[in-house]
């Protein structure tokens, strides 16, 4: 079964750096592990005033992702992620989207929540 993993990123492709902030990440990159494809979605809420967390979770859900790789999430986003059943993993430090995905698939990333 294919797995869709959402990775927060600074740019729109697999070579972009992972962005540690969830709700205010410039891009959400959705990796389809079966097809080996990446689809990027520009985060329309990156500069929004408030309430970005739950909306970002909605974006992740709308794209069918069941796993999320990011650095940190806020309180409201955390509740939404928990309730949604999305598996959230922490990627600390620097690295590209593909590196983060590889680490995630290798089971190296700790749970975020």
């Amino acid at each position: 079964m294919s797995l869709i993993v959402c990775i927060t990123a600074d740019g729109p492709d697999s070579g972009a750096q992972v962005q540690p902030r969830f709700g205010r990440a410039p891009y959400f990159v959705f990796a389809d592990t079966e097809k080996g494809t990446f689809e990027a979605v520009k985060n329309p809420f990156a500069d929004a005033q408030g309430g970005v967390g739950p909306r970002a979770v909605q974006t992740v859900l709308d794209h069918g992702a069941t796993a999320l790789v990011t650095g940190q999430v806020g309180g409201n986003a955390a509740s939404a992620i928990q309730a949604s059943g999305i598996r959230a993993c922490a990627f600390k430090g620097q690295g590209t989207v593909s590196a983060a995905l590889a680490a995630f698939l290798a089971g190296e990333l700790p749970s975020l929540l």
Binding site: G50, G51, P54, Q58, L61, N76, S79, A80, A83
Partner: protein, 283 residues
């Protein structure tokens, strides 16, 4: 008459001006002081008294799981991010909701109803014979400051003389506070950052066509830049409060300079008279 005391940013002495003005005026007439700085109301600290409290509520959506099909329309509509539609239910974040009622309207299944939820309170007190103090308090973490401001203003009703203390800056809650006032007193410091913030506040009062004058606080006597700014923008300088150890001491212990220091009663009386006259407002 409704007078609003506003400022570009916090800590400029806006509340001090409102408190002293209210105190001085209450000595020979009825005056209502309304604390509209609902995120950080401070006026009551100057006037300890027993209060009558009333809860302020906001309408929040309630989602009926029996009717909801998780279509996602409500979540898409809510621009405050208060709704996340999951696969099996709707998640609602009450502290983010602005009570616009939109989710109820867009729901195709009629699954959304509304219920009131407390977001703050309005306290009313009579700390001095001529003085009514109304304070709005927004609960911690809530976003609907304008709703509490509206409730505080409503509690003051049609009192003949109302002085409102606005929040610093020019956010929605400040616009809600200033709208419909007859006169605005802008408190500033004559520093470059003070003037920058003042410029934004001036824009807001101009937009709402409210006559305004300026009080320069913590003046070191060299206010040329501030006075030039005021001249340029056609703003009368109504009062200059010097920077002084004595004044600071009174403030720090939560005192009123108009009550505790000589000369200030007259100064604040004059501020009121000048504001009314210079701003061309009929009393």
């Amino acid at each position: 008459m409704k007078i609003v005391v506003a400022s570009g940013k916090g800590g400029t002495g806006k509340t001090m001006v409102a408190a002293n003005l209210g105190y001085v005026l209450s000595r020979d007439r009825e005056v209502a002081l309304v604390d509209c700085d609902v995120e950080e109301p401070n006026l009551h600290l100057f006037f300890p008294a027993e209060t009558v409290d009333e809860a302020v509520t906001a309408e929040n959506p309630v989602f009926d799981p029996a009717l909801c099909t998780q279509c996602g329309a409500c979540g898409k509509f809510c621009r405050y991010g208060a709704i996340t539609v999951l696969r099996d239910r709707v998640l609602f974040f009450a502290e983010l909701c602005h009570s616009c009622g939109g989710c109820r309207i867009v729901c195709p299944e009629g699954a959304v109803t509304e219920t009131g939820r407390a977001i703050g309170k309005v306290s009313t007190a009579h700390p001095l014979p001529g003085l009514t103090l109304v304070s709005g308090f927004l609960n911690e973490g809530e976003v609907q400051a304008p709703g509490v401001v509206r409730a505080a203003r409503a509690a003051a009703g049609e009192h003949p003389l109302i002085i409102q203390d606005a929040s610093p800056g020019v956010a929605c809650a400040v616009i809600e506070t200033i709208t419909g006032c007859d006169l605005c007193i802008l408190v500033t410091e004559s520093t470059p950052s003070g003037l920058h913030d003042l410029a934004l506040a001036v824009e807001a009062v101009r937009m709402l066509s409210i006559p305004a004058g300026v009080v320069i606080n913590r003046s070191d006597g060299r206010d040329e830049v501030a006075t030039a700014f005021c001249r340029e923008h056609d703003l009368p300088v109504l009062m200059t409060i010097p920077f002084g150890r004595e004044i600071a001491a009174v403030q720090n212990r939560g005192g009123l300079v108009a009550r505790d220091l000589p000369g200030f009663t007259e100064k604040f009386s004059a501020l009121y008279a000048d504001a009314v006259r210079l701003c061309g407002v009929k009393e």
